[in-house]
């Protein structure tokens, strides 16, 4: 077991060493890929600049923290809204045929659309602030949640519904106590896709316009030529995405403990 964990992180360690050495021996241009140690140092100062320790605080409106917080807010409301609305719409479509007939073609037509194409439209409609970013994230995450909820709710075993009914469940109880729990494995898998999409659209929307967020920080630092700090933010975003997926997977396993 311990062996396994060590083995799993060896490739990551090798990559880190390579990242440190390659720029130092000028195998790659250090101005295009600063060595890892420089990136880590920049990361550290990005963490502290909010408190005014370095000159960075003067030039950058936000540190890693303050931009992280505005990104988090966009992400949380975008993804959260998509989950709540998506589950609601998905169940509704699965339960009411006429609603399904109206909404299904829309969902199917929008599903394959590249999610980032929504961003300029949302900016046009909602402006440059947080609203357009939350809406972009929300709309992009909505479809996988709707579809997984829809499929999960449709696939509920008939006799489960019947036995709840014959034990005295009302319509509302049937929804909360049978249909949703039964659809939960599929819903949670759909949300996992949505989490991955949310990170992509979050960063993309902040890269494009605005004055806040980690995506903004990346583009700002990149344009200013501060590549070690830019890489620090890129690494931070990747690590957060990875951590979110791991944490979600853990939560999902815990929730679905009743399966084999």
């Amino acid at each position: 077991m311990t062996n396994n964990v060590v083995v799993r992180y060896i490739p990551l360690l090798l990559l880190a060493i390579l990242w440190e050495i390659a720029p130092r021996i000028h195998f790659v241009d250090p101005s295009e890929l600063p060595p890892l140690s420089a990136v880590l140092k920049a990361w550290w100062s990005l963490l502290l600049d909010g408190e005014g320790h370095t000159f960075l605080a003067v030039f950058f409106k936000g540190s890693l923290w303050s931009n992280g917080v505005s990104s988090f807010i966009n992400w949380f409301f975008g993804l959260g809204g998509a989950i709540v609305i998506g589950v609601f719409l998905g169940v509704f479509m699965a339960r009411y045929q006429t609603f399904d007939d109206v909404v299904s073609p829309l969902v199917k037509a929008l599903y394959p659309m590249p999610k980032s194409a929504l961003i300029p439209v949302m900016i046009l409609w909602l402006g440059l602030g947080a609203g357009s970013k939350i809406a972009s994230i929300g709309l992009s995450c909505l479809l996988p949640v709707i579809l997984s909820t829809y499929n999960g709710s449709r696939g509920v075993e008939q006799t489960l519904i019947w036995s709840a009914r014959s034990l005295g469940a009302t319509d509302r109880e049937l929804l909360w106590e049978v249909i949703l729990p039964s659809a939960l494995p599929e819903i949670l898998a759909g949300i996992r896709n949505a989490v991955a999409i949310s990170f992509i659209v979050l960063v993309a929307s902040e890269l494009l316009v605005g004055q806040h967020g980690l995506g903004y920080l990346i583009s700002f630092l990149g344009e200013g030529g501060v590549y070690d700090a830019m890489f620090a933010v890129v690494v931070t975003v990747s690590a957060l995405g990875f951590a979110a997926d791991r944490a979600y997977l853990y939560f999902m396993r815990r929730t679905l403990i009743w399966r084999e």
Partner: protein, 262 residues
Amino acid sequence: MTSSGISFNGVSHTYRPPRGRPVLALDGVSLEVKDREFVALLGPSGCGKSTLLYLLGGFMPVETGTISVAGKTVTGPGPDRGVVFQNFALFPWKTVQQNIVYGLEKQRMPKPEREKRAQELIELVHLEGFGDSYPSQLSGGMKQRVAIARTLAIDPLTLLMDEPFGALDAQTRTLMHEELLAIMRRTPKTVVFVTHDVREAVYLADRVAVMTARPGRIKEIVDTKPSTGSRAEFIHTQEYTEKVDYLWNLVRDEAIKAQGEH
């Protein structure tokens, strides 16, 4: 005491799958089950036994004919008719204990009482120590016993059981037969009991209805109530053996017909 006789009157049922041809599953079934009577349904696979039970349960609309329970036409499911499904239909996200108390929750029974009742039922179906297990952790026979306990929990006046002992080994099955008969003595119920097992039908039921191959009709109804003595003695009598043989022949003829269809 409320009466709970069942009456099927010219009941037919056609399945209309979204793709494929309509299937006539039942064709004019008429059957009276008296109050507190135990009737077993015997018939070859695919003859419509489950269908008949689902209609009685109120899960599918009765399109042709009528079904009434205690004089009232069946229009939907309800806790007056407890159902044990052929595929158990346990809630996989609930533990054994949570499954068993589900119907009691719906009746707003207070929690301590609910848990006491669940414990009794767990003992009744010999699943001590499995209260916190999930269905996925149980064998087929264990799941079947949970399903039986869940239905018995709400103490319905009418019991609809679809091959409830089909997944049990011979010993457990015999134990469950005794338990079921004991429950029937304590709180008599009207029972419709689907089975493939002729001996089980003769042993448990007051009457056995044999169905024809699909489309299902009632072919013959055989009285199987022991004329003298208890059921435990009945099993060793000439009468029992004769009834079993007689029913065997009826069922075999239909099973051969059902085979011939394919």
